[in-house]
Every structure is written in structure tokens, then in C-alpha cells.
Subunit: 414 residues, 2 copies
Amino acid sequence: MEFETGDKIKIKKNGVEYQGVAMPKSGKCVVLKLESGYNIGVNPEGTNIEIIQKKEYSPLKVKPENKQADSKLPEVSIISTGGTIASKIDYRTGAVSAQFSADDILESIPELQKMARFKGRVVYNVLSENMKPEYWPELAGAVIEEIENGADGIIIAHGTDTMMYTAAALSFMINTPVPIVLVGSQRSADRPSSDNVMNVICAAKVATSDIAEVCVVMHDSISDDRCGIYRGTRVRKMHTSRRDAFWPINSDPIGFVDYSTKDIEIISDYATRDSSKLVSETNIDPRCGLIKFVPGAKPDILSYYTRKNYRGIVIEGTGLGHVSTEWVPEIEKATKAGIAVVITSQCLYGRVCDRVYDTGRDLIKAGAIEGKDMLPEVALVKLMWALGQSSDMDTVLELMETNIAGEFSLRSLH
Amino acid sequence: MEFETGDKIKIKKNGVEYQGVAMPKSGKCVVLKLESGYNIGVNPEGTNIEIIQKKEYSPLKVKPENKQADSKLPEVSIISTGGTIASKIDYRTGAVSAQFSADDILESIPELQKMARFKGRVVYNVLSENMKPEYWPELAGAVIEEIENGADGIIIAHGTDTMMYTAAALSFMINTPVPIVLVGSQRSADRPSSDNVMNVICAAKVATSDIAEVCVVMHDSISDDRCGIYRGTRVRKMHTSRRDAFWPINSDPIGFVDYSTKDIEIISDYATRDSSKLVSETNIDPRCGLIKFVPGAKPDILSYYTRKNYRGIVIEGTGLGHVSTEWVPEIEKATKAGIAVVITSQCLYGRVCDRVYDTGRDLIKAGAIEGKDMLPEVALVKLMWALGQSSDMDTVLELMETNIAGEFSLRSLH
């Protein structure tokens, strides 16, 4: 029986029956997206395949007539950068590589097309560990272009590995009048499951909502009941494989999307749609490094960064933001050489406070900047951005002390 | 009114009444430990001080007659290394520095002396950010000596900043027939509170229990209701300032100590007292570094470690254990030069699995070792220890693949 990608089909094999939406084939296997959101691959040899329903929607391209047809629906641009959400298993190697485009996402999730008029745009096609700071301005540029061209919301399909870094970068770079939503999928290491249907549908809900913020929308628990809406500067991938890998850190989520009702529950303040004009400052200086301090780490490692003409260093200290005493003179040397040094904590949760213990007080005297309750990774992205805005160190320091995109709070939350 | 440290006193000042145990003075301030466990400093000028009860116990030193007197009680050695639990505020600078000894702990917590015969020993007096891998063998040596001399349990007072590193080191170094308990205190950055009374009492309870493991005993929640008993290789400081900063990662706690009843609730398997003989392997090779991969990080950073003759490198990759593709040749260069490279994840939770995505598979081909679900910091300590056991790389790899002290599980817990 001939079927097309997007058709709802039923496969019987060895007495077991599978039912779901046909995905693009992988090698000789038929891939079904089950109602649960899981993907399953079935070798079609010796099976009986039945079409239950022909696909209702064909993937939307940017065709004027199509825009016309659904003109009551908001317009959302899906920008694809690669990652698991846009990848499939390569059955040749058994490994996963980035292959899908935004159109493939739309094709496999027909429900999306009732929510908005979608427009797809591929900016990159890389696994997210290969995302580089140099790519962020270009991605920001694409986002800005889509907004200027009338997009009511942006969805960015992104690998989960470095999603938090990109989310932070866009948060600093763009003051947005519309939602900018990063979404991805976690894939269990040992089974061909995928959480992308629910994540993408919830992301589309947020992209068409009133929340004009850069945010990450991903599973909030291992149940498929709701997604969290996490502020782009306050979220971190905290599990290698679970669906609910993204946790809000030092801040509540903006809210949640209920997957069954599609209702959004708001629990934090947010910038409302069109409350600000589109403003962008996309320059960055990627010559920044992150050093995690561990017992026995030699302060000499700092000299690597100074020798290589780095302009900023974020240190992940211990506890309230400490390093061993012998690091202090090296840090002073770096700050005197015009390198911005920001102290954060490897605890991740809580606030750096270098005014309590001797070591911390010495760090401040040495010219280090306290990272408040910023995540170390967010402090790194912010430092690249601040150094991209000005070469004047006083201005850079002032930017680091200014809350640009909700990246720190005035006092820590308990 | 003359009072001594350890007396229960009442102070009236400006119409407010404070009641608690007198601690050693700080400058001209009288320091009271309140019933809540908080410390408060009061300037005695213009106050009325009344002794409610003279101190019942004098601090126990290692006196034979004293051992005789309480011979039914188990013998516990308190080894002090410094840190907040053994520190007080320096009113000259407003900062905290390490000053107290084990005797001071006993003096300020009289209840302890009903639980065991205590013996104090100061091994170091440093804030924990200054602990170095080179100190761990000496600390392990002191622990071993105390056990050989008849201690039924060991309490190690340690700064919280690097407690997890020391706990992991002792876990790998010592196969213990008695409990070895690390304890510390978190001090709120903005008020002179302390959680040390409850932590130390719970630690003493565990030190006299059946749990013959290296473990960390600290507040389990911000309420003063119970302490967690966390395995030394599965615990991490996850908050800069909260009392419940220590979280078990990728593993349940061994159990809990109820502070009011002093009952121990066990929820995980543990090694029982005297089930194994005292065995120690305290050699380490501290020439190991930890590198946290971030977007834009240059693979050239690895060359710093190879040039400096490091013997092991732990990489904190993204997600399932990834780095950007351009890192792979540099990692291969390092492993071919005889440097052990272990891949862990900056997610902290979950398991590294480099067999799913292309990048990971390339890393394994390049000779990298998968860190399973080990914490990056624990993998670093284990690598130092493994390299201290043998200079033969095959033996080192075998040790890294062997579960020595519960540091990894066969599959990840969900």
C-alpha cells in the first residue's frame, strides 16, 4: 500500500499493531510518530500497512496565496539551526545527525498549521555543540529580519546542548516586541523516542501569545502534561537525557503551557507584546573564556588567556565565588592588563557574594566583578556582548552591573 | 556579671531580651548561640547580662580518665580542617576567617558529649577554597591513624566550598570499617546565622551509626528538621548560601537523620560497620585538569595542559558529553601522548553517552573515556587517584571503568 509522509497509517507486524503519522523513511524502515509523541521505526518487510487518513495539510512554504488563505491566523517564522529536533537517526551508523528542515517539522506535526501561518527559514544546520558565538549575530539578524517583515512570533529550532547559550545571546542582543521562542527535543539515549511534538506545539502557543520575551519552551516534567516557559537568561540544561532537562535557575519560569488545553498559566512578570520597539545590538566580542576553578588548579591557566589576547574571563569559583588565595595576584594582573574578570559560582544556584570571606574581599580588591546570581554560562555570553558594545572598560563594567534581560535579581530568591 | 564561654546567659538591650549559650567573644561583642542555632553578636555596653545556667560540660580533651568515665560511649575523632564551621567573624574586617578548633565546636555544643567520647585533632586550618589535592593524602592518613587507634567513627569539619572534592578523594582512598562523616556549615551572607549545631549533632549521630561509608551530612531542607546523609561521591554544593546547599546527584541519599528524634532513616544500600577491613590507597597524581567546554572555546586550550605535562584531563562537555567537532583532533593528540581524557557533562544530572551522536562517536574513536553518570568534579578526583595508583595507562583506564566507591551506576536513574 502506497502512503505519503504525513499520512496516518496502521502497520501490523508479528501480531502487533502500530498506528501513527508516517514520518520520512529512515533507510528501509517506516518511521511512525505515535500519539504519545514517540517515534518508532518498523521494517516494512512482512507487514501489512493500511492508510487510515490521508494527510490533511501539505507543508506550508512561503507562498502568498497561502498567507491569504489563513489571514486570520498570526504569522510565525520557524528558524531552523539544526539539533535533535531537526535530526533523524542515521541507520547506517546508528547515530543521530542533523538533517531535517522547518518544513519537515510542519509536515510531521499537522496540528501546528491550525495555530498559525508558518514560514520556514534554515539559518544553520549544525548539531548545537558546534554553535559558535560568531553565529549568534547572524541568527539574531535573521530573527530581526523576520520580525521586520511582519512575523508575529519567532520559533527557533535549536539543539538542546547549547540552547541556553544562544537563548542568553539573543536575550542581550534583541529588545523584542514579539515572542522569540527557542525549542528543541531531548532524545533518550537508549530508545528512539522523541518529545518534539509537544515541545513544538507548546512553543507555537507561546510564539502566538502576549509574551514578548526571548524564552525556552521545553517539557516541565517527564509527564507529557505541560511545558515550562523559561526566561532566556535563567534556564539551564540540567540533565543529559530526560525530557524535562531544562530547569529555571534562580528564577521562576515565566509560566507554563498546558498541553491538553493549550492554556498558558503565567506565574512571573513578563514584557507584553508590542510594549517595546524592536531594538537590537548584535555586536559581540567572542574573545572571552570560562574557567572553572577546582582544587589544585594552577593560577597559571589565566596566563594562557592573557597571552592569547582574550578580553574577558568568567571564573566559576566555589561557593560564594572563591578561588584559592594564590589566584588573586594572577587575577589582579589580568584586570590591570585590561581584561574583564567576572566571578560566578559553580554552585549554579544562589548569589555570589565576595564580601563575606577574606578570599572574596581580596578578589574585589584585585578588580574582579561579582557576577551576582547570574549563571556562569550567562555571565560569559553577557561579557562577550558587553565587550562587543564598547571597548571602554568603564562602559563594559557598567553594562555588567546593569540588568539587561532579567539575567540577575537584586537579591537572591529563597 | 562575669560569665564563661559555654554558660547559658540572658542579655537585655534596648528592651529586647536575648537568651542562649555564650560563645567565644568576637572583638568586644558577646556572641550568643540562640536555641534556633543562629548566632547573634551583641555589644555589651549598656546591657544587663544574667547567667541562667553555668556550663555543664567542659571541653573534652584526650585525657585517659575522661575516656574511663564515659567508657560505654563510642569514641569519635573530630578532625578539623578549617572552614566556616570552624570559623568566626573577624570584626576587624567584617569578614569570616578560619579560627576555631574541634575543642571550640565541643564547647559550644554541649549536647555532643552525651553522644560519644570525642577526641579533637587539627590537621589543617584553611578555608576550603585553599584545600589542595596534595592535602588529601595527609588528611586520609590522619583518618586512618584515628581508626587504627580505635576510633569508632570520624567527623571531619570541613569548609563547604570544596567539601565534595575532599569527600570524593577520601571515598576513593579509604575502604573503611567505620563511618567517616564530613560536615560543615553554610552561613548566610547577610546575617550572622549558623547551621552548625544541627549539622554537627546529626554528623555525630551518623559517626556512631552502622553506616561505614565516607559521607557528607548536611541540612536536607531549609527547615531545621533533618539532615541528609549523602554518599561522598554523589553529592554537590548546589547553592551558594542556603542551609540545604548539598544535593545528592544521580543517586538517592543513604538516608536522613531526624534532628528532633535523632533517628536515622535509611533509604539506600550502604556498607555496614566492620563489614570490610581498613584498606587504604592514598597515592594521587594531582597533575590533572578540568576543562568546561563552552561555545567558542578554542581546542588550543588542551595544548596548555599537554605542554605543562598534565597526565589527565576531565572535559565537561555539553549534553550527553559533547564538544565541538574541531576539538576531536586535539583530544586525539592528547590521548596519543598518553594523557587520560575523561568526558563528563556540564548538565551534572544524567549519564554521558557518546554513542548517540556523531560528535560523541568521534570522541570515543579519539580515545576519550566516557565518564558515565559521574559528576565532573568526582571524575577529576578519581582520575587523580587512578593516576596515583599506576603509571600504566591500561590500569588507569580499568580503574576508571570500575565502580570504586559508588561514583557511578550501571544505568542512569530516572
